[in-house]
């Protein structure tokens, strides 16, 4: 069995950034990704990023992906496995990988889990009908493959993903009937919401989906008003015809490999679900297994990139191969990450991270 210094699971923003600095530090790196190309979810994000220069502000996600991939893909110390799934991770840092044809084992000195997140679902009658998609799925279908989810779509959830995907649906020529929001206020940035509203798309607050109607696919949706405690107000139901229903109700970290390897995980709602406990160096409770990006708490891709860079630096240092600019870069990316978390949206993450630390001594 071959041994490599660093195996990164997931070639999205966090994984690519971790790889970049680890390679610069002189490590041999393997990136494994389940998709047939690198880039993670950046490859479908046609919107321009916020933040600062460090997070490639004003660039579109699709272009950031190209840039990050270009920086590393021909590096002599990098090997890339695409269309390959990590199906096993064991405490001796052996990984079992499967590429649809054969199983192989790789031993790593360090592992960075940068698996990202999965889309949450919403429970309602007939929520499994074809034509009900996660918002990210619609983004993938449209922006990657150029296929439309339907002529008309109803969006559920007014967080940033819901708002951005609504805008992208409109760009692709799809009619968005409305955005439903269970809460009393719009979840995402005002600037995104304003853009949607200017185009005449209603954002209906205190409202959710109560059932989907249809036999072999979705044909209509019953919506219902909610009171301040999110209880359904009976008699307020309304039927809306639609080809597709798009659920943008949050993401959960993909923690499964961490649970499998025996790392301590804890349910933290502010971070999106089960997340691994990590120290300040992004190392989990299993020695040598690090976590970065959405896998360690849902934030934006900007934050995932910063965590990727930081984890790459920490791994290099732990193998006594610090990056030539180790201290400067650590400080730079740490400061950038703090800055990203300064706003009202970052507060939630900070609370989550604090909760994750509670009871740490009981390890």
């Amino acid at each position: 069995m071959r041994t490599v210094e660093l195996v990164i699971v997931g070639g999205g923003p966090a994984g690519l950034c971790a790889a970049k600095l680890a390679l610069e530090a002189g490590l041999e790196v393997v990136i494994i990704d389940r998709a047939d190309k690198l880039g993670g979810q950046l490859i479908k994000q046609t919107h321009k990023f916020f933040g600062s220069k460090a997070q490639y502000a004003k660039m579109r996600g699709i272009d950031i992906a190209k840039l990050l991939i270009n920086e590393i893909e021909n590096h002599q110390n990098l090997e890339i496995f695409t269309s390959t799934t990590v199906v096993g991770l064991y405490p001796d840092l052996v990984l079992t990988i499967y590429d649809q044809k054969k199983y192989q084992k790789i031993k790593a000195k360090r592992v960075i889990i940068a698996t990202g997140a999965s889309e949450k679902v919403l429970a309602f009658e007939n929520s499994d009908l074809p034509g009900i998609y996660g918002a990210g799925a619609v983004q993938t279908l449209m922006n990657l493959y150029g296929v439309l989810p339907g002529k008309e779509v109803l969006m559920v959830g007014s967080g940033n993903i819901g708002l951005i995907v609504t805008y992208q649906l409109l760009q692709a020529g799809v009619k968005v009937k409305a955005i439903l929001e269970a809460g009393s206020t719009i979840g995402g940035y005002k600037v995104h919401a304003a853009k949607i509203r200017r185009l005449g798309i209603p954002i209906i607050t205190n409202t959710t989906v109560s059932k989907a109607l249809g036999t072999s696919k979705i044909e209509a949706v019953e919506i219902v008003k909610l009171d301040e405690n999110w209880n359904k107000i009976s008699g307020s139901e309304e039927i809306i015809k639609t080809d597709a229903l798009c659920l943008s109700v949050g993401l959960s970290p993909l923690h499964q490999l961490l649970s499998m390897v025996g790392a301590q995980v804890k349910y933290i709602s502010e971070l999106g679900g089960f997340v691994a406990r990590v120290n300040d160096n992004f190392e989990s409770t299993v020695k040598g297994v690090y976590v970065a990006g959405d896998a360690v708490g849902i934030e934006e891709a900007s934050a995932a990139m910063m965590e990727g860079y930081l984890s790459g630096l920490h791994v290099a240092d732990s193998l006594n191969k610090p990056h030539p600019e180790q201290e400067n870069l650590l400080k730079y990316y740490q400061d950038e990450l703090e800055l990203l978390r300064k706003g009202p949206f970052g507060l939630k993450t900070k609370i989550g991270i604090e909760k994750l630390k509670v009871g740490e001594s009981n390890a």
Binding site: A35, G134, G136, L254
Partner: protein
């Protein structure tokens, strides 16, 4: 339904890829996944739930949720949302757990 005009993205015309779905010859394009090709043809039911046999389409499109698993070239449980379409593939809707051996 495919996008023809887009303010940011370009979707150049690509080579047709013929494949067999439920015994019928159909086609998608190079660069498609099996699921995106079927979707563009208006085929949204990719599998049936194991017990109640309810129709399932894809949900996540990134290989997480397993709703898109189909029988491809005789192999069950293929995640068609992340599997590139290839010429002459034989694709069936999956109706059970799938048997490997």
């Amino acid at each position: 339904m495919r996008i023809t005009k887009h303010p940011i993205l370009v979707f150049p015309e690509k080579k047709k890829v013929e494949f067999i779905f439920e015994g019928k010859k159909v086609s998608g394009y190079e660069g498609d996944t099996i699921a995106s090709a079927l979707h563009a043809l208006g085929i949204m039911t990719l599998s049936y739930s194991i017990k109640a046999k309810r129709p399932r389409g894809f949900y996540c499109a990134i290989g997480n949720c397993s709703a898109c698993q189909m029988v491809v070239n005789g192999v069950p449980n293929v995640k068609t949302c992340i599997t590139p379409l290839e010429p002459e593939m034989v694709v069936f809707r999956q109706e059970d757990k799938g048997v490997l051996i």
